[in-house]
């Protein structure tokens, strides 16, 4: 890649980072582009060399944020061990992801139900695909023998929703004590679901 394209991508990154930084304390729909370019150290008009809209920048941030989250999910699904261990490791993975990608997670939580339609839709679509992926992994486990496809799918949705809720809870933990409390709660809830799963056929 030439020097030109490299410099351009560097500016693009500056815009994305500026946006991400500003979005830590406000909403995408209340973000101004002058604000973004100012934070990125660029003139207002320069913005248009990279994005048509602020919504377009938003969608780019969604892709970034969900890509990192996707990596975490695949890591969680790849874990091996008995149910108890697996739950603990998953919650640790979530905590680690939040610690390492605060801005991304906060952005997703904010805009998942935010005021910018294309962004909302992009998030919803990708989360649905995550649920598909989890459902596929669950279906391959021996514990799912005799489960209908629809039931596996609803279990996967429950897991994904719970994961997102847990990540958000970690987000506004205001200390290590609060973090541990959230982790314990999440583990217990997952254990409850796991127990329900084992005894599903009895009901």
């Amino acid at each position: 890649m030439g020097v030109r394209q490299a410099q351009k991508q560097q500016s693009r990154r500056a815009l994305l980072d500026a946006g991400l930084h500003l979005l830590e304390h406000q909403n995408l729909s209340s973000l101004g582009m002058r604000e973004v370019t100012r934070e990125a150290g660029m003139s207002p008009a320069g913005f248009y060399r990279h994005f048509r809209d602020l919504a377009e920048l938003g969608v780019a941030l969604v892709e970034e944020s969900l890509a990192s989250l996707h990596g975490m999910i695949r890591a969680a699904l790849a874990e091996k061990g008995d149910a108890e261990e697996l739950i603990d490791r998953t919650v640790e993975l979530i905590a680690g992801h939040v610690a390492g990608h605060r801005a991304h997670v906060r952005f997703l939580a904010r805009e998942r139900h935010g005021g910018v339609q294309p962004v909302r839709e992009a998030i919803a679509a990708e989360l649905a695909r995550f649920a598909d992926e989890v459902a596929r992994a669950l279906g391959a486990q021996p514990e799912s023998a005799g489960w209908s496809g629809a039931d596996v799918r609803m279990l996967a949705e429950l897991y994904v929703d719970h994961m997102v809720a847990t990540a958000v809870a970690f987000l506004d933990a205001d200390g290590p004590a609060a973090e541990r409390r959230i982790a314990r709660t999440a583990c217990t809830q997952l254990r409850l679901i796991s127990v329900g799963r084992r005894h599903w056929r009895d009901a």
Copy 2:
């Protein structure tokens, strides 16, 4: 109450309704007060006779929205019957609440993680109190014999989170078919949790 105060409260209502209406398609932090007063048929300066801020209007809307949700929760907790029936009735209650209070529910979903701190805090505090209330009700049930207070509390949190998630899902259902699918999923998930609860002690 005198004619004066009645007229004032009517104007206040107009402002709240205007805000609620505009917030159906945008975020609180992107809302302008000129926009609100225009929608309410009032001059910009008149706003200050009722609220200091837009954040203050937001908090007022939070109180309204959570009051109606609170009513729904109390209704759900008051239901009697076996577990299966109870689950179905609860999900129906949620669906009915969303149908009757779309704007309120959408507002809560948007601003729960939105960019306006006092509003966010008001929602979080009230949802925590709802979890307390649910925990108290669960603790009084015979099924909770032998459960620790902390475990009951985490179960209550799971229920509240799930209720909110279900309400939001109903919100962007785009037809009766989608609504039924969401209701079925929610019921199945609740049944799974219920099974887990019954077999909790075995683990």
